[in-house]
């Protein structure tokens, strides 16, 4: 990886293109494959976590106390039931 003696003295204002001297192709391939594999594994694991988050909640056990029903509105109409939206616990980006 050492430049030729006197090279920088002849071309002091330019930087040699480091990619022109690449030799360790095995390292490039190995790292690319490792990074792609890490991405794939992370994708699958986060996908499983999201699937768990968006799964419908289990019904409460029979012995558990039921929560009190919400009070009707002033107009006497029953309040709208909360919609079951999928949750996303993690929003890391």
């Amino acid at each position: 990886m050492r430049s030729r003696p006197g090279y920088h003295a002849r071309v002091p204002h330019r930087r040699t293109n480091p990619f022109a001297r690449e030799r360790q192709h095995w390292l490039t391939l190995l790292l690319s494959a490792a990074a792609a594999a890490a991405f794939g594994v992370g994708w699958v694991l986060y996908g499983r976590e999201s699937a768990t988050d968006t799964a419908p909640p289990l019904p409460p056990p029979a012995a558990s106390p039921t929560p009190a029903a919400p009070a009707p509105t002033a107009a006497g109409e029953p309040p709208a039931a909360p919609t079951a939206t999928p949750t996303r616990s993690s929003r890391s980006s």
């Binding site: 040699t16 490039t28 991405f39 992370g42 986060y46 996908g47 968006t54």
Partner: protein, 216 residues
């Protein structure tokens, strides 16, 4: 070679995310999962690129000299960091839940989701792009200009870290605390050696070289 590999990885992984989204593989949240995974991979690669870059600058990489070519490691990790940054942006645009327009992933502070934190991430992505692309074209750039642009990698890593802390709820998990702390501490320590203790490093390196039977 690393340029071609980086471009191939970015294209193939982005295409996989878009295809999975269109085909419904992995459910509704598949693009979001890909965005999260690619963010971690990009951050880890950016950290590796900055850390090994400091080692290259100091000409000091104890224990691995002659076994792992540090300069090559630095180049490849930097290029791949840009690849997965692109994948991260593509996955966010592909995600139907967060509803990012393409310009939300490219223009700072206009995204609908946590605009400040997302904007810092967009700036970090542009800095990574500038650093990597300027290195790909280093033969055509004046050395001083390349060097100035290359210094932006420190800012890119810092902004990427702040973006990760502020934009995600993975931050609430203790392994994330450990990862962020390790990234910050290792780079701060290496930067201290690089900028404030360079003479000590040179003396230490000379001492190791003069000792018989020890690699430099």
């Amino acid at each position: 070679m690393s340029r071609i590999a980086a471009i191939l990885v970015a294209v193939v992984a982005s295409a996989a995310v878009i295809l999975a989204r269109q085909q419904g593989w992995g459910g509704e949240t598949t693009a979001w999962s890909a965005a999260r995974a690619s963010a971690w991979v990009a951050l880890a690669l950016l950290w590796a690129a900055v850390f090994t870059g400091i080692g290259v600058s100091l000409k000091y990489h104890p224990g691995i000299s002659g076994q792992v070519p540090t300069l090559e490691l630095h180049r490849v990790t930097g290029s791949l960091a840009l690849s997965f940054t692109v994948v991260h942006a593509v996955a966010l645009v592909a995600d139907p839940y967060i509803r990012f327009a393409p310009w939300d992933a490219a223009v700072p502070f206009v995204a609908p989701y946590r605009p400040l934190a997302t904007g810092l991430g967009v700036i970090a992505a542009w800095l990574v792009s500038a650093v990597v692309l300027s290195t790909w074209g280093a033969g055509w750039l004046p050395r001083r200009a390349w060097h100035l642009i290359h210094r932006a990698s420190y800012a890119a890593l810092a902004l990427g870290l702040v973006h990760g802390i502020a934009a995600g709820t993975d931050t609430e998990h203790w392994p994330t605390h450990v990862a962020y702390t390790a990234i910050a501490a290792s780079v701060l320590g290496a930067a201290f050696l690089r900028f404030l203790a360079r003479d000590w490093v040179a003396a230490h390196r000379a001492g190791r070289r003069s000792a018989p039977g020890t690699p430099g």
